[in-house]
């Protein structure tokens, strides 16, 4: 399996320094191993700390139960409609994303002026537990989520979708998609556990890329 790697930079929060990393155009066994050996224990530890601090469970990350090995296996053999990316830095997996470009009817544009056009659907996206502010006041690296969304926009452009993206957001991420990504919030979707559906237009995609990976 050949993997294309491109150079990226992440902000190391503690030192304030830009640290060089890589964006890979596939999730490989190496990332799945990192997820199992590093993310899963770190997530368990983080949730334990939230429990001890009596943090309300609405602030817990539901992805503590996601199984990336299972999710990748489900799409790897399926079709070429799925693609994945990961962010690597310090020899560790910092973020993962799976995208669907199949154009299935339930995964087409919903905003009125682009209704039923094809988009790239973000099936799953997650950043490493040590980069998440719900676990750490000072996350290790900033900008991982933004880089993954930028990769998704570029993939959407490659597919001819002009940067159009769609996704269902977990409650803790709503503000990231609405404010940092500038996506349209189309409200709760009863067909998807009431999760809010967000969609990005070509204009919003260009604006996001032009802004760079900044808040």
């Amino acid at each position: 399996m050949s993997v294309e790697k491109s150079r990226i930079f992440l902000l190391h929060t503690e030192s304030g320094a830009e640290t060089e990393g890589e964006l890979w155009d596939k999730i490989t066994d190496q990332q799945l191993h990192d997820w199992e050996s590093q993310w899963v224990p770190a997530l368990a530890f983080g949730v334990q700390r939230l429990q001890k601090a009596r943090t309300h469970n609405s602030k817990w990350p539901p992805s503590s139960t996601w199984d990336w090995r299972e999710k990748i296996a489900a799409v790897r053999d399926a079709t070429f409609s799925h693609s994945s990316f990961c962010v690597m830095c310090d020899g560790q997996t910092q973020g993962l994303i799976i995208l669907d470009s199949s154009g299935r009817p339930e995964r087409r544009c919903r905003i009125e002026n682009q209704r039923s056009k094809d988009l790239l659907y973000v099936e799953l996206v997650e950043v490493a537990p040590w980069n998440r502010k719900e676990f750490h006041q000072t996350p290790r690296y900033r900008g991982v989520g933004g880089l993954l969304i930028a990769a998704a926009i570029q993939k959407s452009q490659e597919e001819g979708f002009k940067g159009r993206l769609g996704l269902h957001s977990l409650p803790l991420a709503n503000s990231f998609y609405a404010n940092k990504c500038g996506m349209h919030d189309l409200g709760g979707d009863s067909d998807n556990d009431g999760l809010r559906y967000f969609e990005m237009t070509p204009g919003q995609a260009s604006a996001f890329l032009a802004k760079g990976n900044k808040s």
Binding site: S81, S101, G103, D118, Q154, G160
Partner: protein, 70 residues
């Protein structure tokens, strides 16, 4: 990160070309991209059907019609 692509010539009737052009306008995609999307969907459906699943269309009244794949 674009993958390398191969070129092929596609022979279509007038009616098929008209349908392709209409879809290209409706979907805001190039004709090549319409064909690529059609292939993805066709492959996805075939894989699900090969696994023994069925394909249905559902109308507003929730009545279902099974789609027969050739």
């Amino acid at each position: 990160m674009a993958q390398a692509k191969k070129t092929m010539t596609l022979n279509l009737t007038d009616a098929e070309m008209t349908a392709l052009e209409e879809l290209s306008i409706k979907k805001d995609l190039s004709k090549t991209q319409v064909v690529r999307q059609a292939l993805k969907l066709y492959q996805l459906i075939e894989l699900r059907i090969d696994k023994g699943e069925k394909l249905y269309f559902e109308d507003d009244k929730k009545s279902k019609a099974e789609v027969m794949m050739l």
